[in-house]
């Protein structure tokens, strides 16, 4: 049963910002509803106001201009999964999205919702982290753009202010050829929450790792970049042996917990295995 709340549906972006100014502190934003409604039914959140953003057509788009891919925050996961722009330029994102939930839920769930819900298991986060996406946050006071690795502050927590809205995800297209991969381990082979998810990005020049980026989900209070491990790789020769030898350090970058899905110990060990596999897959793509 849904608890009682006041339902507000702004017809324009400006109205949405006004409502946020007025009620932001006591409101929750409804995008696809696939997280919020469940949490409300389970009594986890009891907002006094629910602001339904579904009419804000201006936040539903995927475009490519000046070397940047821009995704409106209300773009559904299914739209991302099937977008040729995403598939051709940053397939690591569509690879992750197509493994999320079920087709029906992807029809409703949005990329903005997935990020703002800020689950450590949000599967869109690791690809966006390795792509070094930037997030545009808007309020009546203005706009700011922040790198995604500064966005998450804890489970269910972000830097968003009460009157602020995530409006756009900006992904810079890399000029040099990068290999990417996304891997996810769950308790079954589909429709599953991640026990561990890993996205990788590698740039190789003269058989040497010029850039290595690793991001993981479900192994820390937020989705995380494994920066210490990344640093170890830069400058090393781009071989499977090097990957196998150095991927073990990823445990230094993660801090998983035990829950009904898996133990912390298993998550640690799987972080290594998935990092290794995702790096090799990314490597295979550039060679």
């Amino acid at each position: 049963m849904l608890p009682r709340f006041k339902y507000l549906r702004p017809k324009s972006f400006e109205e949405a910002l006004e409502l946020l100014d007025k009620y932001g502190e006591q409101a929750k934003l409804l995008a696809g509803g696939t997280d919020l409604i469940v949490k409300m039914k389970d009594d986890v959140v009891k907002p006094k106001y629910v602001i339904d953003l579904s009419r804000l057509e201006e936040l539903k788009f995927i475009s490519k201009e000046d070397g940047v891919i821009k995704i409106g925050a209300l773009t559904t996961l299914r739209e991302i999964e099937t977008s040729p722009i995403i598939r051709e330029n940053v397939h690591v994102l569509s690879d992750a999205v197509e493994k999320m939930a079920s087709w029906q839920i992807r029809n409703l769930g949005t990329i903005g919702g997935n990020l703002c819900n800020a689950s450590p298991a949000a599967d869109t986060a690791p690809p966006l982290l390795v792509l070094e996406a930037e997030l545009k946050l808007t309020s009546s006071e203005g706009e700011r753009t922040v790198p995604i690795d500064q966005f998450f502050t804890g489970p269910g927590e972000t830097i968003l202010k009460n009157n602020e809205l995530l409006t756009e995800i900006q992904i810079p297209i890399m000029s040099n050829h990068a290999g990417t991969a996304f891997l996810k381990l769950g308790r079954r082979f589909a429709h599953t929450l991640s026990i561990v998810s890993v996205a990788t990005l590698v740039v190789v020049e003269d058989d040497v790792f010029k850039d290595v980026r690793i991001a993981l989900g479900s192994v820390a209070p937020t989705p995380v970049r494994a920066k210490k491990t990344e640093d170890r790789f830069r400058g090393l020769s781009a071989t499977k042996d090097v990957v196998e030898k150095n991927c073990v350090w990823v445990v230094e970058d993660v801090s998983p917990i035990s829950d009904v899905r898996a133990s912390a110990e298993y998550r640690k060990e799987m972080s290594i295995v998935l990092t290794k596999r995702a790096l090799i897959e990314a490597l295979d793509e550039v060679r």
Partner: protein, 773 residues
């Protein structure tokens, strides 16, 4: 009396060929289900209908001090709150033992136990009101672990003086001597966990008061049991309670147990308010408050000679029954009597214990105690084979039951024992021996493995527990036919099999036959459980149809100028054998019967002959016959993550006549998927008696990406003398050996053996890591 029936059985067994039996006839309910016309409980609506919600215990064990309903009653739209004291009849719904109230009385014994019912004008008001009912408890110490419960001072049922609800035993030969004769002995402890049915449709019923009686439409498996319990709770005659099945969205045994509990609850509200009342469990209610598959702890010792012959088994089975016994005594009995697997074992000592704990109660679930024990028994067989240097097929064939064998209860199997042939054929079609020898040498990160496991399952009720079949058939004046049976259509297609039986015996097309099932308006046909719906349930239909056939044949013979034995009826026309151009239309024949004083209605009561069982010695007649099954599973194990992909499963059945191969394939595929979930992922996680994953996010069941390709089945049609056309039972069979087949395949791939289900990736990963040292 049974001679008449035997004559009919024998007569039809000699049939040279069949018109519709044995064919993949399309389901009779296919169209209504495809078009969305089939009505499930929630699809019903009646004017003035109330919505019922549950008030559930928030603690695992405690005394109820006070129930304050005033807050709930003040909420506009709330019509009533009902507790144990509102029950006009008897607040007792225990199945095997009288230990279970419909609504908690005095005490609660598990977290999620139903304490009160709230009825309101709408579902949301009912839900809100349910939260406003304040139950004051005096918490009691609780016991959750069955081993601890066996000797605990904390008693789930004080009046019993112990948490051991039931014990069982088998004593055959001398196990001490048996183990002395053994060249190898294998001894292990196995554990299996809870399994939830996760039917698509949760539990539910809608009750409608009518003049002089109450009708309850429910998601059920046995209308007459619902009638018995509902009338007892209401203090009414059975005749005043009419039960009808709705379309059922999955049952798997769970609704055999839950059916009466929801029909009684909905009926209680309807009875007290005089208004229609609908109760549908939420998914969370279903997880917290409906019975599950009993978790088990099984200590198993087996001995065999160097040539692979079993000499003795000694087995201790502990089943965790949760807060109530429910079907547990029967589940335990079945597990105990099947402890050997389908093998000859000269010496056997088996002890079973059913133990109360302060957790959700357990109950019927496809396989009924057998998946647990066959997992242990079939793991043991592979371990013996390993020690003896035999392959898994060979050791099974050296011990397999055959006609004339004695079971561990010393019951002689005089006929219908096709398991040996099934195993031989299965090994051939799956290329088992070659793959098994090859895969065990495999290295690498992803390793293939293949495993086999067998199972057997006594059909009908156990021991001398009465079992019967019945049905009525009316042939109307236009020749169309209605057949009434208590057997429920729960998705398995049993009413299609029933229509095939009528069509075959009367020789008329299926389109003119209507099966009216799952209702107390039909004769009590027993429950739709124990794989008996089409087989034992079909006997009554077969007998009624065969009686009518003989009556019609006599009239036809006169008209055609031949003897009744020469009359052939097919496609709705009666012929004299060998004279294809002269016939009478079925419709005209029926008209003639009506005009000449022939009764066109019949019932088909049949009481199954049974033997006796000596409970003291644990020896004697256990079941009238057994269905047999064997599965081969081929897996791929990811050595770095512990993930298991089940690639293919080959099933084999020795279940008598296969009435409809399409329906049987449906049962095999579903049972394998459910067995795979049980083996690899399904698991309830408890903390202090509270289920932490009472939702479909964290209780995971297989998806289409997880289920294997199910290969063409091997059928050995080992006809059963009393089954319709020799059919035994199918529904539960392929689940039973699936866990052991998968676990044996994992061993073949990795050399690591998992003895606790489920074998989650995490569990297997750490077992592999430990084995690597």
């Amino acid at each position: 009396m049974s001679e008449e029936f035997l004559r009919l059985f024998e007569k039809w067994k000699k049939a040279k060929g069949f018109l519709v039996v044995g064919r993949g006839v399309r389901r009779v309910d296919a169209l209504e289900k495809v078009l969305g016309e089939a009505r499930y409980v929630e699809d019903y609506f009646f004017d003035g209908m109330l919505y019922v919600r549950l008030v559930k215990s928030t603690i695992p064990h405690g005394r109820i001090k006070k129930i304050d309903v005033s807050g709930a009653l003040r909420l506009p739209g709330v019509v009533g709150v009902f507790t144990a004291k509102d029950i006009p009849g008897i607040n007792q719904v225990g199945y095997a033992l009288p230990d279970q109230p419909l609504l908690a009385e005095g005490k609660v014994r598990f977290h999620g136990e139903v304490v009160a019912l709230v009825a309101a004008e709408g579902p949301d008001v009912a839900e809100e009101a349910a939260r406003l009912v304040k139950v004051e408890y005096e918490p009691l110490p609780a016991v959750f672990d069955p081993l601890e419960a066996m000797n605990s001072k904390v008693l789930v049922h004080e009046e019993k003086g112990s948490n051991i609800a039931e014990t069982t035993k088998v004593r055959k030969g001398d196990v001490e001597k048996g183990f002395e004769q053994a060249d190898v002995i294998v001894e292990n402890t196995y554990r299996t966990g809870h399994q939830d049915h996760v039917y698509l449709e949760t539990e539910g019923a809608v009750a409608v008061p009518e003049p002089g009686r109450i009708t309850v439409i429910g998601s059920i498996q046995y209308p007459h049991l619902c009638q018995t319990i509902t009338s007892r709770v209401l203090g009414l005659d059975m005749a005043q309670v009419r039960i009808v099945q709705a379309s059922v969205g999955g049952a798997f045994g769970g609704k055999d147990d839950m059916g009466p509990l929801v029909t009684a609850k909905a009926a209680l509200v309807a009875y007290k308010t005089g208004r229609p009342a609908m109760l549908v469990y939420t998914r969370e209610d279903s997880f917290t408050s409906h019975c599950k598959r009993d978790p088990s702890i099984i200590e198993y010792k087996s001995g065999a000679t160097s040539d692979g012959k079993l000499t003795a088994i000694q087995v201790k089975i502990i089943l965790d029954s949760g807060a109530y016994a429910n079907r547990g005594p029967f589940v335990l009995w079945r597990a105990t009597m099947h402890a050997s697997g389908p093998y000859e074992v000269p010496n056997a000592k088996v002890d079973g214990f059913l133990v109360y704990t302060n957790k959700v109660f357990e109950g019927s679930f496809r396989g009924f105690g057998n998946p647990q024990i066959q997992f242990a028994a079939e793991s043991q067989m592979d371990e013996l084979a390993e020690k003896l240097g035999l392959d898994p097929v060979e050791i099974r064939l050296r011990n397999i039951l055959k006609p004339g064998s004695l079971t561990i209860t010393s019951q002689k199997l005089d006929h219908s024992v096709g398991i040996g042939e099934a195993v031989k054929k299965l090994a051939e079609v799956s290329d088992f021996k070659r793959k098994w020898a090859e895969y065990r040498k495999d290295g690498g990160v992803k390793r293939r493995g293949i495993g086999i496991a067998c199972g057997w399952h006594g059909i009908s009720t156990s021991r001398g527990v009465p079992d019967w079949s019945n049905a009525y058939i009316n042939i109307y004046k236009d020749g169309s036919v209605v057949c009434g049976t208590g057997i429920c259509e729960i998705g398995q297609g049993t009413h299609t099999a029933h229509a095939q039986i009528v069509s075959e015996v009367l020789g008329i097309p299926i389109e003119h036959i209507k099966i009216v099932g799952g209702t107390t308006d039909a004769p009590d046909t027993g429950a739709t459980h124990a794989s008996r719906g089409s087989s034992i349930g079909g006997i009554g239909i077969f007998v009624a149809a065969a009686k009518l056939r003989e009556r019609v044949e006599k009239v036809a013979a006169k008209l055609l100028g031949c003897t009744p034995e020469e009359v052939e009826i097919r496609d709705g026309k009666a012929y004299c054998r060998g004279v294809p151009d002269k016939y009478i239309e079925w419709r005209d024949l029926v008209k003639k019967c009506y005009e000449t004083g022939v009764e066109m209605s019949a019932t088909g009561y049949f009481f199954l002959p049974k033997g006796t069982f000596d409970q003291e010695r644990g020896q004697g007649f256990a079941y009238p016959a057994y269905s047999y099954v064997a599965n081969v599973a081929e897996v791929e194990v990811d050595m770095e993550t512990g993930q298991v992909k089940v690639l293919r499963v080959w099933p084999a059945l020795a279940a008598g006549k296969i009435l409809n191969p399409t329906l049987v394939e449906g049962q095999l595929e579903g049972a394998i998927a459910q067995g795979l979930g049980y083996a690899l992922m399904e698991e309830l996680v408890f903390k202090d008696g509270v289920i932490l994953n009472a939702n479909l996010t964290d209780y995971v069941i297989p998806t289409v990406e997880d289920v294997p390709e199910v290969m063409k089945p091997v059928y050995v049609e080992d006809l059963y003398q009393y089954g319709p056309f020799g059919a035994k039972g199918v529904g539960e069979m392929a689940l039973i050996p699936t866990p052991a087949a998968i676990i044996n395949a994992i061993y073949n791939a990795t050399g690591v053996r998992i003895r606790e289900l489920p074998a989650t990736p995490e569990k297997l990963y750490f077992a592999l890591k430990k084995a690597r040292g």
